[in-house]
């Protein structure tokens, strides 16, 4: 009897008196780790916004702000909870654990990492642990990307504690918040050692890293930084392809001008990723060539690179046909047709703020959210320093504003990274309350 036949015979016997289960989710929203559970394919209920505290505003502390995103709710578009973590340490990015029960949020200045329970009651996240040993364990500074793999989080960093330039690495922690290992970004074979984002393609046993700049630059006032020719040389110009199983670098790509967020196509059968370089304002495609070798290729331009629009975040559609791009300096949200990823074409743009940074879209692409803050010392000054979250509907032709939260008026701070949660069905949390086996 072959294996499958034996399995199904056993299953048939075992299920004779019992039913069959429903499939579990396999995918996720468009920019999350492929290992993340509980895809929200319908209406997201909550937006979690990792927010930088601002001196003289409210409690001045970094905080996780949760906003009601369900149009059917009485508190739609309102802040429904806020968890301050104490101090200001350049709050930046977040990432879910694989079970989506916990949200890890990092600070680029003091390298502290906060773990929030968002699974028990997503409307009211709870801070359950603070990790303070990243620099001690790894020598790295500036935890940026939090990327789930089964039972663990991979943390991409931006800098190091010795020179505070962009030479860095990534580390792995288990879901309990315990350090496991550290892995330097290569400085040989064309590598510059710089880090930023991480994105895994499990089907190919590979992942990509991109490169930004170190603590010396990202904690410095942007105006003076741009005037400092020497400092401007210290930006990443590479991406690295890694073997996922061995966590060893396999190939370094030259991608000039600080390649930032990396998005793999989620379309079945696709094996390419796209990124945007911040300083050169280009779109780059990472894919196989005719010889089945991975290559990085410049495929498009965002705005007028001469004006340094600074593309800072991208969001790929679930069907990989379109890509949203936010450019910080001109406050524009762009949409590119990437149905042929080798030839992206801009099909729409709109000014969505005086400064715009992060952009997140729902799985169905019908809702788009943007935030304003890039880095505390890089945000614009005076009246241009608006600090908002804006929620739009996208009907295929235009973005329509549905609500906005003014983080300055609300005395919250500077909104940066966003993550979605669904409404928790508390009944589903019940473990079957059945008695002991007989």
């Amino acid at each position: 009897m072959n294996r499958s036949a034996r399995y199904w015979l056993i299953m048939a016997a075992a299920t004779a008196a019992w039913g069959f289960s429903a499939p579990t989710p396999r995918a996720d929203e468009t920019c999350l780790s492929p290992y993340t559970a509980a895809l929200i394919k319908g209406q997201e209920a909550y937006l979690h916004v990792w927010t930088l505290g601002e001196k003289g505003l409210g409690d001045e502390s970094d905080k996780l702000v949760t906003i009601d995103a369900d149009p059917k709710s009485k508190t739609y578009g309102k802040v429904i909870s806020s968890v301050s973590v104490g101090g200001r340490g350049e709050a930046h990015h977040m990432g879910f654990t694989d079970d989506r029960k916990y949200l890890w949020a990092g600070r680029l200045d003091d390298s502290e990492i906060f773990i929030f329970d968002v699974g028990t009651d997503p409307a009211h996240p709870k801070l359950v642990k603070t990790i303070t040993d990243l620099t001690e364990k790894t020598g790295y500074v500036g935890p940026h990307t939090f990327y789930a793999i089964p039972g663990r989080i991979v943390i991409g960093t931006l800098s190091n504690n010795e020179t505070r330039d962009g030479v860095t690495g990534f580390s792995v922690y288990n879901n309990k918040g315990e350090f496991l290992s550290a892995h330097p970004i290569p400085t040989d074979n064309g590598g510059d050692g710089y880090g930023y984002d991480i994105a895994i393609n499990p089907k190919k046993n590979v992942f990509l890293t991109s490169s930004f700049t170190g603590w010396n630059n990202y904690m410095r006032d942007l105006g003076s930084l741009i005037q400092d020719a020497e400092a401007m040389k210290h930006f990443g110009n590479t991406m690295v392809l890694w073997n996922l199983k061995s966590m060893q670098p396999e190939k370094v790509f030259s991608v000039p001008g600080a390649p930032l967020e990396i998005r793999w196509s989620l379309k079945e059968g696709d094996d390419w990723a796209i990124t945007a370089s911040a300083l050169t304002s280009k779109l780059w495609l990472i894919s196989h060539d005719a010889n089945n070798d991975w290559q990085a290729k410049e495929v498009g331009t965002i705005g007028d690179p001469a004006k340094i629009p600074l593309p800072v975040d991208i969001s790929i559609a679930a069907d990989a046909k379109t890509l949203w791009v936010n450019t910080f300096m001109d406050g524009k949200t762009h949409l590119f047709d990437i149905s042929d990823p080798t030839k992206p074409v801009q099909i729409y743009e709109k000014v969505t703020g005086k400064q715009v940074n992060m952009i997140s879209q729902s799985w169905d692409g019908k809702r788009v959210y943007i935030t304003s803050s890039l880095l505390a010392n890089w945000d614009k000054k005076g009246e241009d320093n608006e600090q908002v979250l804006r929620a739009y509907d996208w009907d295929g032709e235009d973005l329509t504003l549905k609500f906005e939260v003014d983080f300055t008026k609300e005395k919250l701070g500077r909104p940066h990274h966003m993550k979605f949660s669904g409404r928790q069905d508390k009944a589903s949390l019940e473990i079957p309350g059945r008695t002991a086996s007989k």
Binding site: R3, Y7, T24, R152, N205, K245, S428, P432, T435, A436
Partner: protein
């Protein structure tokens, strides 16, 4: 690397075929995505992710046994399951992969007696020791080479702390269960555990590849062998 592995498999199959075990060599039991470009076994290290927690389990009867009895002293592949689970991305996927690993180990004499397979039930009410014993009987052949243990617990009081520690959340799917058939939501996770009781790799339905698992098993075996010398 994959070509070398295929050649080695072919040679091994030839020897086994001579011994009369033709059926097992009709095809490579390790069904893998050829695009994975896996590193050679032993050329990489696996993190010590966490220790397997304390637990009391049952096998075959209601006599209590330490979970560590099944997670130390050999390389262990452990999955949570329930016997009537039919989610194609859940237990059946794990079951099929365990079958492939079991067949592969039968073809790797160097791994004989070094690997065990463990299924631990998520439903101690239905999956009594007697129920699981009837399933385990299907795998008695070859059990001295690669045993497959089907474990359960007295109750959720005993099971839940193990699940919590290993990050395996479960819940009842009320909608799917409304017809009277219990459905448990759970993330598919398969744990590779070294002979000291450390979890060294965790596979999800995105990474449950039998060639990957076999390479990891060989890696742990090679490193354990090197450490003993």
């Amino acid at each position: 690397m994959r070509k070398a592995r295929a050649r080695a498999f072919g040679t091994l199959c030839g020897l086994i075929a001579l011994a009369g075990l033709v059926e097992t060599c009709l095809s490579d039991p390790v069904n893998s995505n050829a695009d994975l470009a896996l590193p050679a076994p032993g050329s990489y290290t696996l993190d010590h992710i966490q220790r397997v927690p304390f637990g009391i389990v049952l096998e075959g009867n209601r006599f209590p046994r330490m979970l560590s009895k099944y997670t130390t002293g050999a390389i262990t592949l452990l999955a949570f399951f329930y016997s009537y689970c039919a989610d194609p991305n859940g237990c059946p996927l794990a079951w099929e992969t365990f079958e492939q690993i079991r067949q592969a180990i039968l073809l790797h004499p160097g791994l004989y007696g070094k690997v065990r397979l463990v299924f631990l039930s998520l439903d101690p009410v239905h999956d009594t020791p007697d129920v699981l014993k009837s399933i385990a009987q299907n795998y008695e052949e070859g059990a001295t080479i690669v045993p497959w243990h089907f474990l359960t617990t007295y109750s959720y009081l005993f099971l839940n702390p193990v699940l919590r520690d290993m990050g395996e959340e479960i819940s009842m799917d009320r909608e799917a269960s409304s017809s009277g058939n219990l459905v448990l939501n759970h993330l598919l996770k398969v744990f590779l555990i070294d002979n000291q009781g450390w979890v060294r790799e965790i596979y999800s339905n995105q990474s449950l590849d039998s060639a990957t698992i076999l390479g990891d098993i060989q890696t742990l075996s090679m490193h354990a062998h090197a450490a003993q010398r």
